[in-house]
Symmetry: C2
Subunit: 349 residues, 2 copies
DNA sequence: ACGGACTGCACAATCGTTTGTGCAAATGGC
DNA sequence: GCCATTTGCACAAACGATTGTGCAGTCCGT
């Protein structure tokens, strides 16, 4: 089993070529013209290196240059449409800049976030993109102490640039759409729009609730607390809450703002138990997008966060080299039900 | 702007504590008992290190120990349910082993795969998990030459362990289900089951087609080539193909095996243009799972690949330290339509 | 033929760890 | 009180790259 010989180093190449390690190094990293190495020597060394399959040890280089070529990102979870799109953009942007992306998920666990950030810093990442931390300030302090540039994405943090989705605007537009599609007639609790899902002290959710309240207030008057059901992200919880709500109201509410796909999964879990015509008198919107969500038995308006724009903008901030605090908001898109395939198809996968 | 002072090193701690760097090192990496360092000294050093926020430079450690603490994985794309679940499991398994996961996507581009693998090797990853490469053999050679342990996941490769989904079994079960739900009556082309989506020379697809053919053969007799429409993964293409098929047949076929979610998206794009009762005489199955797919206007049987089991099994192989070629198959699960929320909910997100 | 500039490269220090080895001082047995 | 251990630590050489500096040799002008 040939798991034996090591990767060649510049010393091996130096010996084989009769040149010194420093000459080999500068030839192979492209700085040889500044060092007045002759073309002949360079070519000879390059050939030997190629024939032996040399490639630099990036740990050694990183150590010497005090730069790793790595750029880190932490996010809550991978297996989620939004965050996995974020990963995809992050990777593309990192590679454009000849950086190697390191993406870690922290499962919304504050301890894990801190440990992970410390680990990434220990690998000397050249910058850290923080997507949706539970305790942004703690991470700020750590990065600041370690002298590592960092930025926040999707969730604003202190002491660094923040590129976030314009949750207020997105929720406002979605709420307006729901209101405009709600049956005009009817009175009582059932005629009101409800908000379900998410955690109220979560930044994004709180902005969305704000927009929902304001928009409904302006149109239908006072929103009652009972209309806001911030029951977290678990599908099971959302399913129970919507069931209880329907029981209380004696049917579906006239409007429903579902805050997250996971809550929507739960809501659907209850909906499948209802007759098909149960949805005729209700307008449904979901903050976050899933292509299949647009193909249900009833129309669902969805808001798609612009993950690509978020990351691209974050990298633009990174490029400026200025890591002072500032806030940049990116507007999400409203997707109408069942329309996405009528036009041009996105080539995918 | 306090982006100035550097991270403390063992030399800083050594100076502050009056001990030597080697003593500091062994105290801080936990080997101090073997080196007969006194408890007093150890405690003193640990306190100073903690107060200054010391953490080891992992590049330097990696260089010295010829181990990086990194474990790499390459996959086609992040923004896909299957692969993002793979990422999630990979990360959990890596952390259990105190390794830092580095996940890179290569967009199914052979050049990119090679470049990425070389980069990861240059960072001295301790093992490489290859998920769905387009040219497995090339990657085998590179890893082998660099003396880096590697394994294949989801797609079998040469010269290393392969942990793959049992595509044949999954497709067989899905086909059987479709056949058993197909309307018994009817003759002619429309009474036949069709297979749509995927690339025929792709490993997974070819195994699935094999199973589809065999299962249909055994039940209904000879499958015609026209029944297999391996038109790739793009939703747009699948949409056109299903439209053309319906035109040719004068309606939906009695059975449809959709090979991938992206093809399914395309198929749905056509379906939404059809009347609601168009689906009464057809049985539909999809290889790959999406929770929303289970909530459509018509029942869809879905196969869920067991991504967690794939990765967990791959890590078990990794743990053995034996990287000789062998093949391990993991059976996927068949998910019945609209049933997943009837039972217990999966807590998620 | 002599001084200066230029060419082409080698030397050695350095990045922050780990780890084999060596050497005083403390300890213990007799 | 003497020798043999044992204890507690320091020294220095790696790991594989980068980079400032220095030094021969060649070339050129005069």
């Amino acid at each position: 089993m040939p798991y034996k010989k090591q990767k060649p180093t510049i010393y091996d190449i130096a010996e084989a070529s009769g040149a010194s390690p420093s000459t080999v190094s500068s030839v192979l990293n492209g700085t040889w013209k500044n060092r007045r190495i002759s073309e002949d020597t360079a070519k000879r060394i390059q050939e030997i290196a190629a024939s032996r399959g040399y490639s630099a040890n990036l740990q050694a280089r990183g150590l010497r240059k005090a730069k790793s070529g790595l750029v880190g990102m932490i996010l809550p979870v991978h297996d989620n449409r939004f965050f996995s799109s974020i990963s995809q953009s992050f990777e593309a942007n990192a590679r454009e800049r000849h950086l190697c992306p390191v993406i870690a998920s922290t499962l919304r666990d504050p301890q894990e976030e801190i440990r992970t950030v410390e680990t990434l810093i220990s690998y000397a990442v050249e910058a850290l993109f923080i997507v949706g931390a539970t305790d942004p300030d703690a991470l700020s302090r750590i990065c600041r102490a370690a002298n590592v540039p960092f930025l926040f994405v999707d969730l604003p943090g202190s002491d660094a640039p923040s590129v976030v989705s314009d949750n207020y605007h997105g929720a406002q537009v979605l709420t307006q759409t729901i209101l405009s599609e709600m049956p005009a007639s009817g009175t009582g609790k059932r005629a009101r729009p409800y908000f379900i899902g998410g955690t109220a002290d979560d930044y994004a959710t709180s902005r969305r609730i704000e927009a929902f309240r304001k928009t409904v207030d302006d149109t239908l008057g006072q929103v009652h607390d009972e209309q806001i059901i911030a029951c977290g992200y678990a599908p099971g919880r959302a399913a129970r809450e919507i069931r209880d709500l329907c029981d209380r109201l004696g049917g579906l509410p006239a409007g429903l703002f579902v805050n997250s796909l996971t809550a929507f999964e739960g809501v659907l879990g209850h909906f499948v138990t209802l007759p098909g015509d149960a949805f005729d008198q209700t307008a449904i919107g979901c903050y976050d997008y899933d292509p299949f969500g647009a193909f249900l038995q009833f129309p669902v308006h969805m808001v798609r966060q612009n993950s690509d724009a978020l990351i691209t903008m974050a990298f633009e901030q990174f490029d400026t080299g200025d890591f002072s605090p500032r806030m940049i908001e990116i507007k999400p898109d409203l997707i109408a039900p069942r329309t996405i395939y009528r036009g041009r198809f996105v080539e995918f996968g």
